[in-house]
């Protein structure tokens, strides 16, 4: 039997051969060790991570809806305007620091936004995993509803789309409420470079 045929046979093995998310979690707990601020508790999958692993990021609606509703409850919306300082927001969007084992705990983290999104058009070095956000506020205005949507989406993106690749920046404790407001400013302030 050729290696290729063997590989095909392997790939079509029944599902029981695949380790479950719980099996993998055990292996990771055995093979990884805590370092810096990255403790072992980070390997414990929550219901969202488990549902997304099991479904390869395509959860059935009856699985996704209740979990999304639960995630929505984690978001604490501040009172009043949610539009912070877009200049600070731009710096947060540029920074890829935070939460890794070699980031100093307590130091302000970034949002890594440019890693995945186009924002200010003058920054040509932007990723494309997420949609382009160029001109985001120009087409949507900056009323209370859109402010709330952007704040909530950055705080906990899983409340809006369960298996999105976007981290839960508020829920995970990566960004502070003020930093998230600054990002809302970056997207919605008419003076922000995103809207030029």
């Amino acid at each position: 039997m050729s290696r290729f045929a063997l590989l095909c046979a392997l790939l079509s093995l029944p599902a029981w051969a695949d380790p479950t998310p719980a099996d993998v979690q055990k292996v990771l707990q055995r093979d990884l060790h805590p370092r810096g601020q990255a403790g072992m508790d980070r390997l414990n999958q929550d219901a969202v991570q488990r549902a997304c692993t099991q479904s390869r990021d395509h959860p059935a609606p009856d699985v996704a809806k209740p979990l999304e509703a639960e995630q929505m409850k984690t978001i604490a919306f501040p009172e009043g305007s949610l539009i912070g300082d877009w200049k600070k927001g731009e710096a947060i969007a540029q920074s890829g620091r935070g939460m890794t084992w070699n980031d100093k705990p307590g130091e302000p983290a970034g949002g890594s936004c440019y890693n995945c999104h186009e924002l200010a058009p003058r920054e040509m070095s932007h990723g494309t995993i997420g949609p382009s956000l160029k001109g985001f506020g120009r087409t949507r205005g900056n009323g209370a509803d859109i402010q709330r949507y952007v704040y909530g989406k950055v705080y906990n993106a899983k409340a809006y789309s369960l298996c999105t690749q976007m981290p839960r920046f508020g829920t995970s404790g990566t960004l502070t409420p003020q930093q998230i407001k600054d990002l809302v400013g970056l997207l919605l302030d008419p003076a922000s470079p995103v809207n030029q």
Partner: protein, 263 residues
């Protein structure tokens, strides 16, 4: 009407610009590939391979990388694979670590005290990898897949690849599961698909220009976990070996063309 035409022209220009950018970056990569300092690390690696070390004061020249003791030609292209003496699947560095502890009598702690080099301190493991991998140039990648433990390792690697975990909910597939996307300016290969995994796996280990270091697959796994905001994988653990095994099996059959050069 005029506005529509203008907008269309703008879109076209933006599209052309994006294409030019991609082309220019491709040209940049070709230009730097012509002068890869990887060969300097290969020279260092050769010295280290032959240098007596450890309590037994012997070199690694009797180390069996899968093709018999001391056989280097094509050894890298046959890894990862199952080793009976260790009763597990090992990638190149895991196997080197095994030889350092069993042949040279070194402790694991000492041998992995500094597995990833920095600008101030090169790493023995990385130079050895450069030297050994270079001797598989032009050979087809054929990792082990017949032994039951090899099948298990492949399946474990694939499951880890899709496991969403860590403070930011990432899996390997968060970045490497979607076609045609990039992080910043870096194109992301879809690593569970052979057509994308092949050229990537054929070029590791590699010289990395941003750090002027020679980097290995154990380093690549380690730094991906770091950016996934998880705890740190232990060097040579089953987790890292299984991931490397899964990726190499996905790329199998490709002609090895490394050591390569990376951004």
């Amino acid at each position: 009407m005029k506005i529509v035409a203008l907008a269309a022209a703008g879109l076209l220009a933006a599209g052309a610009w994006a294409q030019d950018t991609a082309k220019e970056i491709q040209r940049y990569r070709e230009m730097i590939a012509e002068g890869s300092p990887a060969e300097l690390f290969e020279l260092d690696g050769e010295t280290l391979w032959k240098k007596p070390q450890g309590p037994r004061n012997v070199s690694l020249e009797k180390c069996d990388l899968g093709r018999g003791p001391g056989v280097l030609k094509g050894a890298y292209a046959g890894l990862p694979r199952y080793f009976e003496d260790a009763d597990r699947v090992m990638d190149l560095e895991t196997r080197l670590l095994y030889c350092m502890t069993t042949l040279q009598g070194r402790t694991r702690e000492e041998a992995v005290a500094h597995p990833f080099g920095s600008a101030d301190k090169p790493s023995e493991m990385e130079s050895l990898s450069a030297y050994i991998a270079a001797q598989s140039k032009g050979m087809r990648l054929e990792p082990g897949l017949l032994h039951p433990k090899e099948k298990q390792s492949f399946e474990l690697g694939r499951a880890i690849f899709f496991q969403r975990t860590g403070a930011w909910d990432f899996s390997c597939a968060s970045c490497h599961g979607q076609e045609g996307v990039r992080i910043r300016m870096q194109d992301l290969p879809v690593l569970d698909k052979p057509q994308f995994a092949r050229p990537v796996m054929a070029s590791w280990p590699a010289y990395r220009v941003s750090t002027s270091q020679f980097v290995t697959l154990q380093w690549r796994m380690n730094d991906c976990f770091r950016q996934m905001r998880t705890p740190e994988p232990t060097f040579g653990s089953e987790t890292t070996a299984a991931l490397i095994h899964f990726l190499t099996v996905t790329a199998q059959g490709e002609t090895y063309n490394g050591p390569g050069i990376k951004r």
